[in-house]
Every structure is written in C-alpha cells, then in structure tokens.
C-alpha cells in the first residue's frame, strides 16, 4: 500500500512535534524514520497508526483519506518498543489475539498463527509464556502478532533498541527478510543511523519535528542536502571546519589555514562550513591543503590519523602505503566524493 502525507503537523499545546510533513511511502518498501530522540519520529508513527490524531494535514492510504479513521479501521500492524506481549497468554494466544477480536473461528486462527510462527521462526515456542522467551524471540512473537491480520501497513517502534548488540544484528536482518517475504509496506522508527542505513529502502531523516531529507540510504550519505544530515550519518563523524571563502579558497575562521575546494555556489566572503568525510582525504603532490600529522592509531582493520590544520583538527582514514610519521607536515588532496560546503547560517548545501 502507498502512503501519502500532506502537510501533516502535530502540536502538543505550544510545542510542534511534527511540522508540515509532505511525503510518500512507496508500496512494499521498508522505510526508516530516523532522527535523534525528541525529533518527532515516534509521534509520526503514532499518527500513522491512528493512536494520535493529527493537528493539521491529511494522511492517505492508497487513495483513502484515513486522517480521522480510528486505529482499528486502518488495518495497521503495530510492534511496540517493549513488544507489549500479553504476559498471561501463551505465544499462540498472543499471536491469535487480533483474530480472536475479529471473531475468526478458532481452528482457522490457530492455523493462521502457526503459519505466522513459521514465518518468524518461533513455531517451537507456541506453548510458552512471553517471559520464558529471550528478547529476540519476544520480538518475533510481536511481529507475528502484528502480521497475522494481514495489515496494509506494518509499523515498528524502535524494534531493536531493547536487544543486545549481537541480537540486534540478527533481528535487523530478520526484519528485512520478513518484510521482503511478506512484501508488506513497512515503516520503522530508529535513532540508530547504522540500523537505518543497513536495512531500509529509504530513510526519512528528521530533526526537531522538521523533515531534513528523504532518500535512499547511500544517497543520503553521498549527497546530504543539509549540514545536519552530513553530521548525523557516518562513523567516524564527518569533519566540520568553520570559515569563509577568501580569494577563491576556503579559509578557516581564525585565518590559521586555507583549503583549496570546489566552491560550487559559494561566493567570495561568504561564511561557510566545510564538511570532509574521514575517507575523503588522500595524499597527493598536487595538494589542496597542508597539515601536520598529530597522531596515528589503528582501530581494527583501519588506521586513523588526527591532522592539525591551522588551529583545527581533522580525523581521516589513512591508506596502507602512508609512511609519514607524527609531527611531519604533509600535503593532502581532497577527493571528489564526501566533501561538502554548507551555508553557515542555514546549514543548506552549496
């Protein structure tokens, strides 16, 4: 099912939680609502499920206006952050419950529940109570319960945040697999950029209730349209240098160093932020800037260095043939990819 938002806004008294969202979620895709805590992503999810009413704007499921439709009529399956499995019911009863409400005959709903249990791989635990299961298994039960009524839309609220690191990796691949097998349009909320990058078809990046950028994960990383987007994605984080354009070059704010960059739409004298990804710096005789190597250290398979550029610092990845030692002054060249200029005031990409 295709979902369309038109100017969706949510206000709590004076606080704007979600501000004027207009976008589309394509049918059969897995979309991540990504952003730091308090950015309004859970509010957005609750408005899609119908738990929270919207203040302004319209929500369409395919061509139906569902803005004022109560949750039970929208046909959404919801997976809660802490799963909200009924503790007094067995796994089977939990999965069956949505069909029990719809008064589906018992034999039929048990058969359907077993089918769901097979899909999420928990068929051997049907007789257990939720508390006898691990976090990952509970998560699977919650997904099965959400899917049993054939929802038009599956919503997952921070589905992986209650799991430990290893289970998180396993479950995010499981969510991807289940989504692809069922082809159900899925939207999930996360604050973890890696989680969003790894499994989603599209990412909706939010900040303080504002829509920052919507794109494929790689496009978001390669072509951030805002400083916030560049900062939020990537590990190690992107290097930010504040300064201005002078004599066709980027000059640090305190005039301590300069970098030769492609100016794009930036003009002379303009105040800008230069963002440089850690992997976007190489050594070349035709140097864009000169910097002193402050420190070198190995992190697993990669080697990182801290460079001193004027009074600022840069963190970059080093290639394996890099021989210079700390203290040396070296000329570096910027790659085409992963170097961005942003307007200092608005944070917009140049």
């Amino acid at each position: 099912m295709k979902i369309k938002l038109e100017g969706v806004t949510k206000r709590f008294d004076d606080v704007v939680a979600v501000n004027d969202f207009s976008l589309e979620f394509e049918e059969g895709t897995l979309t991540a609502l990504l952003g730091p805590s308090g950015c309004g992503k859970s509010t957005m999810l609750n408005m899609l499920s119908g738990i929270l009413p919207v203040t302004e704007g319209k929500i369409y499921f395919d061509n139906d206006d569902v803005t004022d439709m109560p949750p039970q009529k929208r046909g959404v399956g919801l997976v809660f952050q802490n799963y909200a499995l009924y503790p007094h019911m067995s796994v089977l009863d939990n999965i069956c419950f949505p069909l029990e409400i719809q008064k589906v005959p018992k034999a039929e709903r048990i058969e359907k529940a077993k089918e769901m249990a097979r899909l999420v791989k928990i068929e051997q635990y049907l007789d257990r109570k939720p508390k006898e299961l691990s976090g990952g298994q509970q998560q699977r039960v919650a997904i099965a319960r959400a899917l049993i009524k054939n929802p038009r839309l599956l919503l997952l609220d921070e589905p992986l945040s209650n799991l430990d690191a290893r289970l998180r990796l396993e479950m995010r691949e499981e969510i991807r697999r289940i989504q692809q097998e069922t082809k159900v349009t899925t939207i999930f909320v996360t604050h973890d950029q890696e989680e969003a990058m790894s499994i989603s078809d599209k990412i909706v990046l939010m900040k303080d209730g504002y829509l920052m950028q919507v794109d494929r994960p790689q496009a978001l990383y390669d072509e951030p349209q805002k400083l916030f987007v560049a900062n939020f994605l990537g590990n190690p984080p992107i290097n930010n240098l504040e300064g201005k354009i002078k004599d066709g070059k980027f000059v640090l704010a305190d005039d301590s160093a300069s970098v030769k960059v492609d100016l794009k739409s930036a003009v002379e004298g303009e105040e800008v932020v230069l963002g440089i990804r850690a992997e976007s710096v190489g050594v070349d005789d035709d140097a864009d800037f000169e910097a002193i190597i402050k420190e070198r250290f190995t992190m697993g398979k990669e080697e990182l260095a801290i460079l001193k550029l004027g009074n600022s610092e840069l963190r970059i990845y080093l290639s394996s043939d890099f021989t210079h030692k700390p203290g040396e002054k070296v000329g570096f060249k910027l790659k085409n990819k992963g170097v961005f200029l942003f307007d200092k005031k608005s944070g917009e990409r140049k």
Binding site: G50, P71, F80, F97, I101, Q102, K131
Partner: protein, 299 residues
C-alpha cells in the same frame, strides 16, 4: 585456638538473638501465649478465669458449643454474610476501581470522597447508617420508594436484619478492596490496552481478556483477606441493633457468640472452643482459596 574459634562462633550466633529478644518477648507474651492458652482452655471443663482451676479435661466444651442453637445460628448467619458480602463487594469494588483508574479531570476529588469511609469512625458511621435504615424517615426507604419498592422495616423487623447487616457490610468493605484493586490496576502496563485497541478490541473484550486475568492475583488477595475479615463480623452489629445481635437476638454471628459467652456468660471454655472451631473453618477455607488461586497466576 579452637576454643577461641568456638566462642567466636557462639558470640556471632548469639548476638543477633539478643537484638531480636524484645520483639520475640512481645510476640511470645502477647500473641503466642494467648493463642496457646485459648487452645488449652477450650479443653478445660468448668474453667474459672480468676483461679485458673478446672474440673476436668476433655471435649465437653466442643460438644456443648456445637449443640447450642445460638452457635449453629451464628455459623449460618456468618456463612450467609461471607458468601454474599465478599463477592458482591469485590464486584462493586472492581467496577469502582476501574472508574477511579480513568484519566479524567477532578479524579482526585473522587479518590478522596471514595476513601473517606476508611478514615471515619466505624461507630459514628454505623449510627448514621442506623438512621438511614430507619423505617419511617430513613433515606434508604425514601430512595426505594421512588421506585415503588418497600417500605421495609430494616431495623425493627427481625427478618430484615440480615439484609441490613449485609448492605452495611458491603459498604464497609468496598473502600479498602477498591484501594487494593486500584493499585493492582495501576500496575498493568497501559500499552496492553493500546495494543488491543489497535487490533480493534472492544472495552468488554479488554476488560475480560486483559484486565481480569492480569488483576487475578490481586482479586485473589482481596478475596482471601476479605473472607477472613468477614468471617469475624461482629462490630457492625453494635451500632445497627442497639448492641444486640439483631433486634430479636436472631442475628448471632460466630464472633458475637464468642463475645457473649466470654463477657456476658463468663463461660470461657465455650468461648475458647467456639474460637478454635472458627479458626479451623477459616483456616480450611483460606487454604482452599489459595489452592484455587494458584491456577490464576499468570507469572
């Protein structure tokens, strides 16, 4: 060397007992001794309190008590009281606890109004109820009259006395039961209701499939506590019927019988025997309830 270790161990194990001594002393003197004494007295025929003398040891007291029509009447009335008051009060309390658990404006006022009976004097409240039950100008008959029911002589008609006591007993039991149930309700994660709502569950479905099973342990607890306290009903009789067990001595309860045997007749043996019989009945019923409730527990 080894002697030293031994005395050390002794000191360590003796010291805690020293700290516990005042408490143990209190328990032994004021709880354990009276209980054991009641058991002993119940087997002493012709026991005299002041001298401690008795004629013989045997089960005569028990035989006397169980053949006493007033005691049989007391057992019957107490049983009727427990069987009606506990379930009805629990059901009403569950309803009120649900109302009080809603998020509405001014709920604090309802909370206060609701729990007021808990902090008012039972005797004062009982006298007010006596007025309310009055056959000529009582408010209860007035309210029933609106629906063309009655009037009833709640106090002066002996046949009505048991209903009077039951109504008053239910009213008395509701606040405490409601507090317990409300605290149980507040322990239920509201997310369960959100989840059920998204799936389209009706309020009654949620109540019977989520609230009741999750509240079952608390309901069980209130049933046990209330059954025990209702089995000991007697204080409620005083303000309603001028200190008599029913207006024509028709409404004996077991504890009222015990009280009269002791304070009025000075028949300590019978009072003790009746106490032991009541204790055994309560004990057996509590055990049965606890066994049944084991199945209610979801955790």
């Amino acid at each position: 060397m080894s002697a030293k270790t031994k005395s050390g161990t002794f000191n360590r194990s003796f010291e805690p007992w020293l700290y516990l001594l005042p408490f143990i002393f209190g328990i032994v003197v004021f709880t354990l001794y009276p209980v054991i004494n009641v058991v002993l007295i119940s087997f002493k025929e012709g026991y005299r309190l002041l001298t401690g003398a008795f004629d013989s040891i045997g089960v005569e007291n028990y035989l006397k008590v169980i053949s006493d029509p007033y005691f049989i009447n007391g057992i019957k009335n107490t049983a009727i009281y427990v069987i009606t008051v506990v379930p009805i009060a629990t059901a009403i309390s569950l309803f009120f606890a649900n109302l009080l658990n809603q998020k509405i404006r001014g709920i604090a006022i309802f909370h206060t109004a609701y729990f007021l009976p808990l902090v008012t004097s039972a005797t004062a409240v009982g006298l007010v109820w006596k007025l309310m039950f009055n056959g000529q100008f009582g408010v209860i008959n007035y309210l029933l009259g609106i629906f063309n029911i009655g009037p009833f002589e709640w106090i002066t008609d002996p046949r009505m006395n048991i209903y009077t006591l039951i109504i008053y007993g239910i009213w008395n039991m509701i606040p405490f039961t409601t507090i317990l149930l409300l605290s149980g309700l507040q322990n239920i994660d509201p997310l369960y209701y959100t989840a059920a709502k998204v799936d389209g569950a009706s309020s009654s479905k949620m109540f019977f499939r989520i609230t009741v099973p999750l509240l079952a342990p608390t309901i069980g607890l209130t049933c046990v506590v209330n059954t025990i306290s209702a089995s000991k009903v007697y204080g409620e009789l005083f303000p309603l019927f001028n200190g008599r067990p029913g207006i024509a001595r028709n409404l004996y309860t077991v504890v009222f019988y015990i009280y009269e045997k002791f304070y009025v007749d000075w028949d300590l043996g019978s009072a003790a025997a009746a106490s032991i019989i009541l204790f055994l009945i309560i004990f057996v019923f509590t055990m049965i309830q606890l066994q049944i409730q084991k199945r209610w527990k979801y955790y």
